[in-house]
Symmetry: C2
Subunit: 337 residues, 2 copies
């Protein structure tokens, strides 16, 4: 079996470090691992398979001989370095939003549209965290009864905004108990014991970019340009794990029992739906896990043909690192690398 040379750009970040853990856990066939970051983070040491590696500053030469480059260093670095890495012969799996909506870049969730990796031209985009977990839950239902519209409200963890945002929640909460003032560095507002209805920047239609990602990326991943998605994305004082209240209207009726049966057998989904025994997914329980957890499935009361459900996943894993490594696995499986 062939082993591959893997580079991680943004290795010191919250997602980058999780990528290392996921590559280890899933026994990805790694020959050489190369950890890359900006000048600021270069020199730090990170462990992979029990060996310490020094993080190198990103450069064109750093991609020499690399088979797969996992990028998670923000959109502007992706735009700068992805063409360079591709030029050097690597396939880039990019976690930023830089290329997601490009017509010649596949946007892939392996449980939903694995075949799309086959038409890549060097870059494959990893979708937005909130979108990934939602489409893993919705696609199996859509294949059975067409979904017309989706109304989703998110309860997103601070780790989605990176390592500094994790520190923000921790430090601001401690400061609260000490009667001190702390202003978050990474988040747009106070997060301790608060809810911030603002993730990523506001656009001209008064939706945030995060909310529009859920609209646009869902359609592209599910190959369903007719589905209407209305999202409200809010940050809550949670470290790991995004929760989503998802309401759908389908073209034909679907009962909660049918939906449970579909999701019980759906790839990457774990059904946790026994409300009478207080069984439903919650972020503190999904943290560290790779699947998408679905519960609270019930007939929606606003639509004749509607369902409501509660979808939770670890945003750093299935929402980012795990999905990216799964895409790399697809490249191996399809003999594309």
């Amino acid at each position: 079996m062939k082993n591959y040379n893997i580079a991680i750009l943004g290795a010191t970040g919250a997602v980058g470090q999780t990528m290392l853990r996921v590559l280890e856990e899933r026994n990805f066939p790694v020959d050489e691992i190369r950890l890359l970051a900006s000048e600021r983070s270069a020199g730090k040491e990170l462990e992979f398979m029990g060996i310490k590696y020094k993080v190198q500053p990103v450069s064109p030469e750093a991609f020499e001989g690399i088979d797969i480059a996992l990028f998670s260093a923000g959109g502007s670095r992706s735009k700068e370095w992805a063409p360079v890495a591709v030029e050097k012969g690597a396939i880039v799996i990019d976690n930023s939003s830089a290329f997601r909506m490009d017509d010649d870049v596949p946007l892939v969730v392996p449980e939903v549209n694995p075949e799309d990796v086959k038409w890549h031209k060097g870059i494959i985009a990893n979708p937005n965290c909130s979108t990934i977990q939602m489409v893993v839950a919705l696609n199996p239902i859509h294949k059975s009864k067409k979904i017309k519209r989706v109304i989703v409200s998110t309860y997103q963890a601070v780790s989605g905004a990176g390592a500094t945002a994790i520190k923000d929640l921790e430090e601001e909460t401690k400061a609260f108990f000490e009667g001190k003032y702390y202003y978050p560095e990474a988040l747009p507002n106070h997060i301790a014991f608060n809810v911030i209805p603002h993730i990523d920047v506001f656009l001209d239609n008064d939706y945030t970019k995060e909310e529009m990602k859920m609209f646009n990326e869902t359609r592209k991943i599910m190959h369903a340009p007719e589905i209407k998605v209305s999202a409200t994305c809010a940050r809550v004082p949670v470290f790991y794990g995004h929760s989503e209240a998802v309401t759908i209207e389908t073209e034909e009726p679907i009962s909660p029992e049918e939906a449970r049966e579909i999701l019980k057998n759906a790839p990457g989904v774990i059904l946790e739906d026994d409300p009478q025994n207080n069984v439903y997914p919650m972020p503190i329980e999904v943290a560290g896990k790779d699947e998408v957890f679905v519960g609270r499935i019930r007939k929606d009361l606003a639509f004749d043909n509607g369902l409501s459900m509660w979808v939770v996943a670890d945003n750093l894993r299935k929402g980012a690192a795990t999905n990216a490594v799964q895409i790399a696995e697809l490249l191996v499986e399809y003999g594309l690398v």
Copy 2:
């Protein structure tokens, strides 16, 4: 001007104590104040207008001579004591869910259906906290363009579950930083850095009672039995202030500009809607305030005639104590007491 004898049953609770503060702040014409609670809480002292009062155990005699009794001691105590208080000549304003859906009990939000107090038969019900803030925001829109359906997701503060739940969040968060284990006493699950999609008990249709309150009470308060309300109610690690992501479909089109104009002039509403300058309502900023704060108004992308918005209010104030005292003020204004 006449002054009134007021009793508060459940005076030592989170809502009961807020009722005392709101009566003071709004200069309600109080002659005598009588603080009542269960045997367990009797004997405690609470201040009103600078004077300390001892909490008395509730008894039939305790309602002798009372004009208005504010109840916030849970449904079973309301069922036991409301008929007694009415028998003694008091008008009961009940914050529990015990009588809300009774056909001969008005369910009143003064900004929405003030006239309903006029047909009371001794008991007037104060609605569910999440419902109150939602109908204050939706009713002015409904009067302009009929609302067909509402999809709402809540982000509810622990104070909605009472004083012990406030302690739960505080103690569990502290324990987290000390590496200790703490299990909440009042909440059905861990709340520190978590989200719990479970408020009140689960019913046969797999909705919670809290979610069905939003369905049923909205229709009764707004006199709109045709509106369909689908709710997902979740508890978040916030002390004070419920947030709601509200999506509506209207019969005719309504633009965000029209909705802003309507809400700017709506009773009890404060519009905080300037996303480009990071202005939107958040729970830590509405805590201690009596109004309903609305922001993030935008054309909903899932419906042709739809709007989305973000609605936040202090659940102990407008969601409970303030609304109850406003009902008492209506009784005075209409000469019903």
